[in-house]
């Protein structure tokens, strides 16, 4: 920890980080407060534990910043491999908590390796892509990059923790930034659109719509260029229709009813009020409760520690994945908007920092950090305010949990260290 570091490090990010951590803890305190007036340091209660986790984070920050910046690049492969070993180890030594074998129990504490694997994967990916021999536009290299991303995700899925695995999709942004053809982006977007459209309308209508759009594009192209071939358009059309029908098949035959209900609720597909009520009590219970808790906050909220639904434990998992509903209820529109803005500013700041890196490794890593945080932020809050289906991933820096907090802290501060080191690189 030199004077140089203190001078060079991005204090705005640090400020935003601590703001989020502190606001997060205040809300965890409110959510898990019991009637007995116990000390905030009480280690048997979530808020006490979280305070302890935050203390440890500060220690971790110092540790992360003290390490030589080059270390992260040099040892990225090893760090990655170690994290894979830990993920693999879960199949043998893992502890089952709430139906998922995602934890190691060490003494009285539990650690969730998947939270750390994100940083490791980001390092490995940055290392691989920044290699002078890697070209993102070569299929072979694309597949290797994909492999780096997919291995941890595939190890996490069977825990089962599909939410955490989904986060690895965020590396797609990184690949795109580093030169992946926009065709992939386009295909991905179209796939999502077709998926949603198939659920809302029927496959037949989607087929009809696809046909109309493809035909329109083809005609426009044909006018400009007489030699436009019909074949690629035909293939696109067949692919789109085939995709839509397979989505329909999978949705109706492979998905279980609870999955269907989840999507049905999300896309407002269920119109029968009685069934809707049923869904609200079962699969949509969390979303419904969190939406009404947030709505009940009004503009200025009910006041800190005054949230009646928070006190009454109406929103399940409120101190972990649904912590944002506490913000909504007690701090109202003003508070929840502030939190959204803090996250957005942090993300934009990180993206700005990433872009100013001279080293490709640092840039890719920084981009990965922003992408991962963005995914968590967007999916978590989207779920809590009822815009996205329920996916169990935490809100970074906010949600209760040691592994999560430490994972995100390490992820962020490695980048801040790299950023603070950026001038040295070319000396």
């Amino acid at each position: 920890m030199s004077a140089k570091l203190i001078q060079k490090i991005d204090w705005l990010s640090i400020l935003l980080y601590f703001s989020l951590v502190i606001i997060g803890w205040l809300n965890i305190y409110s959510t898990t407060l019991t009637d007995e007036n116990t000390s905030v340091f009480n280690l048997t209660l979530p808020y006490g534990k979280q305070l302890f986790f935050i203390g440890l984070s500060v220690f971790l920050i110092i540790l992360v910043l003290s390490v030589e910046a080059k270390f992260y690049e040099r040892f990225s492969s090893i760090i990655y491999l170690v994290s894979l070993v830990f993920l693999l180890g879960l199949f043998v030594f893992g502890k089952n908590v709430n139906g998922a074998t995602s934890w190691y129990a060490i003494g009285g504490m539990t650690l969730q390796p998947s939270e750390f694997a994100k940083a490791a994967t980001a390092l490995a990916l940055a290392k691989y892509l920044s290699d002078i021999q890697t070209s993102i536009n070569r299929l072979k290299d694309q597949l290797r990059a994909l492999l780096i991303i997919a291995i941890p995700a595939l190890l996490i899925i069977p825990q089962p923790d599909p939410g955490s695995a989904l986060v690895y999709a965020s590396f797609f942004f990184v690949l795109y930034r580093e030169g992946l053809s926009p065709l992939y982006l386009f295909i991905g977007l179209v796939a999502i659109l077709l998926f949603v459209a198939t659920l809302i309308f029927q496959s037949a209508w989607v087929a009809f719509g696809s046909f109309a759009i493809v035909l329109l594009v083809f005609i426009v192209k044909k006018r400009r260029n007489k030699r436009t071939s019909v074949l690629p358009y035909l293939i696109t059309l067949i692919a789109a229709i085939g995709f839509s029908y397979s989505v329909s098949f999978i949705y109706n035959n492979v998905f279980e009813q609870r999955h269907r209900d989840r999507f049905g609720l999300w896309l407002r597909l269920e119109k029968d009020p009685q069934k809707l009520d049923e869904i609200r009590k079962t699969i949509g219970y969390n979303t419904f409760q969190s939406e009404s808790a947030i709505g009940s906050g009004g503009f200025f909220g009910k006041g800190y520690l005054e949230g009646t639904r928070t006190k009454g434990d109406f929103v399940p998992e409120q101190h972990t994945d649904f912590i944002f509903s506490t913000v909504g209820e007690e701090w109202g529109f003003a508070g929840s908007t502030l939190v959204v803005l803090l996250f957005s500013i942090l993300l934009l700041r990180l993206l700005f920092l990433a872009e100013r890196q001279k080293s490709q490794f640092s840039r890719i890593y920084g981009y990965s950090v922003a992408s991962i945080l963005f995914f968590h932020f967007a999916i978590n809050i989207g779920m809590v305010i009822g815009l996205l289906p329920t996916v169990g991933i935490p809100l970074p820096f906010f949600s209760y949990g040691g592994s999560g907090l430490w994972g995100f802290t390490i992820l962020l501060f490695i980048f801040l260290k790299l950023d603070a080191n950026r001038i040295n690189e070319w000396l």
Partner: protein, 639 residues
């Protein structure tokens, strides 16, 4: 472009999320009503409902404890169902059904299992209750009636219905509200204001603690006791006199407009509408369409006023200066008008009647002449009838009297429009309306209106709106409208000859056999023709017996109107009852025991059965079997 993609998405997501938040939190802001918050439960503390006393401080209505057996289904353990059913006096099937309903309502929340145990049942059950886990007894407060009287005046209380909930935001489902009578009229005074405690609940509906340390909680405000203007003893006496008769008695204090008694017969025991059997009893009473006990005849029944109405015509004629008290008309055993119309009269043919005699003999011819002069004073009968009806309306007829009870009828006072509709404009004359002269025909009044006229005559030209509330709690606060004098259009000096005539009704007229010793009463009999439909055909029934009176003449303390349906002669039933009521009120005891016996023992049930019998029947028969000093009155004396 590649550099900006993620930044743009971050900005878009932030905007979308803030938009969604503003929709959730600003567009549909919370109502601010604590009760809309599922996490808060309001627990109410109901104050005791105010007692009701009569004008002399005698208790009419108080409260009694009642005991509901409550159940929380999830706490129920195996029990000896048979013994439990026996204690509660219900069948096993009842038990199963009630338990099922309670479960369906909520396994966690208490519901009423058996409402309102009697004291006996409670005593039996109380000791054994701890054996039945999940069941407990909850105390409630019910109305208690000190005397079985004045059901129509007091009203009753029952659970609020959907309509009440929509109308008054104060009430929650399951709460009680006053219905009919004083309970309805003075609901807010009697009820007080419930207190409320807000409790923080969790999602299993369990109580966690007070909401915000009780800073929103309110204490209950006690209901007020009220004193009515009713005289309990007089009311009960009136009800006793009206047993086996139908009709109404309204007695007013003419100087204050206070309602001393408001009897409707037949009546019912107010205690019937309390407790477990309330609903069943109410249905029974409500659907008794023959005796109609829930119909307050004192306020709602519209009858032709008959001969008592003649006093008004006399007053109007004096005021209009078309006659003076010495003007005489000859009666030809009736009054001939038009070519073939004749109004019969019981006066001997050739009798020359002045106003005094006209009143105490109740001469139809005399009043037909007087009325005709009033109408024909004006250039057209339309103007005449309008002038006449203005006078009539100044006595409070033809409109609600604005008394403080929730039901009423306007009655009917015909005007120009009514006859125009019936005969065509300018195609009718005074003679077409001649039955107004004797209070038959188009004119209709309720007993309370007739009592009010009598009070106005007693006061020589003014009345105060009748009312039932004397004081609230210890405060003597009476609404201003019940202290204001309403003056009639008749000058005070015109009342004396009419009152003299009414006095002579007792001295030498139609009420001479029913004099009350020691009290100077002014009265007027009425015998009113009335009709019904039997199998769709109009049929005449025995005349209604009507009487109005006030006493003492110099310093009136009571003005009374009595209607006895199908009682025949005015003095036979109504006259006697009026006399007894007056004596009871002024002297506190009855000296004319013969009259009292006659009324108490008499029954008109046979008369009421006639039109329902399906056989042909005679009307206006039946002998009076009274004798005074060995002298029997003749039919002539009775009219």
């Amino acid at each position: 472009m590649r550099k900006l993609l993620l930044s743009s998405i971050v900005v878009i997501i932030a905007i979308v999320y803030i938009g969604r938040l503003s929709y959730l939190q600003v567009w549909n802001p919370p109502t601010g009503n604590l009760l809309d918050d599922t996490a808060i439960k309001a627990i109410y503390d109901y104050p005791e409902r105010g007692y009701i006393y009569d004008r002399n401080g005698q208790l009419l209505v108080a409260n009694q404890p009642a005991y509901d057996v409550m159940v929380i289904p999830k706490d129920v353990k195996a029990l000896d169902t048979l013994e439990f059913c026996k204690l509660l006096n219900i069948s096993k099937e009842d038990f199963i059904e009630k338990y099922r309903k309670a479960r369906v309502y909520s396994p966690r929340l208490p519901s009423v299992f058996v409402p309102q145990l009697s004291k006996g049942e409670y005593a039996l059950l109380q000791e054994k209750m701890r054996k039945y886990e999940g069941f407990y007894i909850q105390k409630r407060s019910l109305r208690y009636y000190a005397e079985s009287t004045a059901a129509n005046v007091l009203g009753y209380i029952s659970e609020v219905n959907e309509r009440d909930l929509k109308k008054h935001t104060y009430y929650q489902s399951g709460e009680l509200i006053g219905r009919q009578g004083v309970e309805e009229q003075y609901e807010e005074v009697l009820r007080g204001r419930k207190g409320v405690k807000f409790i923080q609940k969790d999602r299993f509906n369990r109580v966690i603690g007070p909401y915000k340390n009780g800073s929103y909680d309110t204490l209950p405000i006690q209901g007020n006791d009220i004193h009515l203007t009713l005289d309990r003893d007089l009311q009960m006496y009136g009800e006793q006199l009206m047993v086996n008769k139908r009709g109404g008695i309204v007695a007013l204090d003419p100087k204050t407009g206070e309602i001393l008694s408001l009897v409707s017969a037949p009546t019912y025991d107010p205690a019937l509408l309390v407790g477990r059997q309330r609903s069943r009893n109410y249905t029974k009473l409500y659907y008794d369409s023959i005796a109609n006990p829930t119909f307050d005849r004192g306020l709602l029944a519209m009858y032709s006023p008959g001969s008592p109405f003649k006093t008004l015509n006399a007053l109007i004629a004096l005021e209009e200066e078309v006659v003076n008290e010495h003007t005489t008309f000859t009666c030809y055993h009736g009054y001939r008008y038009g070519r073939s119309s004749f109004m019969g009269c019981h006066c001997n043919s050739g009798a020359r009647n002045n106003m005094n005699r006209g009143i105490y003999e109740s001469c139809n011819s005399y009043f037909a002449n007087v009325y005709r002069r009033v109408i024909e004073k004006y250039p057209s009968p339309a103007e005449g009838i309008n002038k006449w009806s203005d006078h009539i309306k100044s006595f409070g007829l033809g409109n609600y009297l604005d008394y403080d009870l929730p039901t009423g009828k306007r009655g009917r006072v015909p005007g120009e429009g009514e006859y125009n509709r019936k005969y065509g404009e300018k195609r009718w004359f005074a003679t077409n309306t001649i039955s107004n002269a004797i209070g038959q025909g188009e004119i209709l009044t309720t007993p309370i209106q007739l009592a009010n006229i009598t009070a106005a005559i007693a006061n020589r030209g003014w009345y105060i709106k009748p009312h039932i509330l004397k004081k609230v709690g210890k405060r003597d606060t009476i609404a201003k409208k019940y202290t204001e004098k309403h003056f009639t259009t008749i000058s005070p000096e015109h009342f004396e000859p009419v009152i003299q005539g009414m006095y002579d009704v007792y001295n030498k007229g139609t009420a001479k056999w029913i004099q009350v010793p020691g009290i100077k009463i002014a009265g007027k009999t009425g015998t009113v023709e009335n009709f019904t439909r039997i199998n769709g055909e109009r049929a005449q029934l025995t005349d209604h017996s009507i009487f109005v009176a006030f006493a003492p003449i110099e310093d009136p303390k009571i003005a009374i109107a009595v209607f006895v349906e199908n009682g025949y002669w005015g003095n036979r039933w109504a006259g006697r009852i009026a006399g007894l009521m007056i004596e009871k009120y002024i002297k506190g005891e009855i000296s004319r025991k013969d009259m009292e016996d006659y009324v108490l023992n008499g029954s008109l049930e046979e008369e009421y059965a006639k039109p329902l019998s399906g056989k042909s029947f005679r009307i206006n028969d039946g002998k009076d079997f009274i004798s005074i000093n060995g002298e029997k009155p003749t039919i002539e004396d009775e009219r």
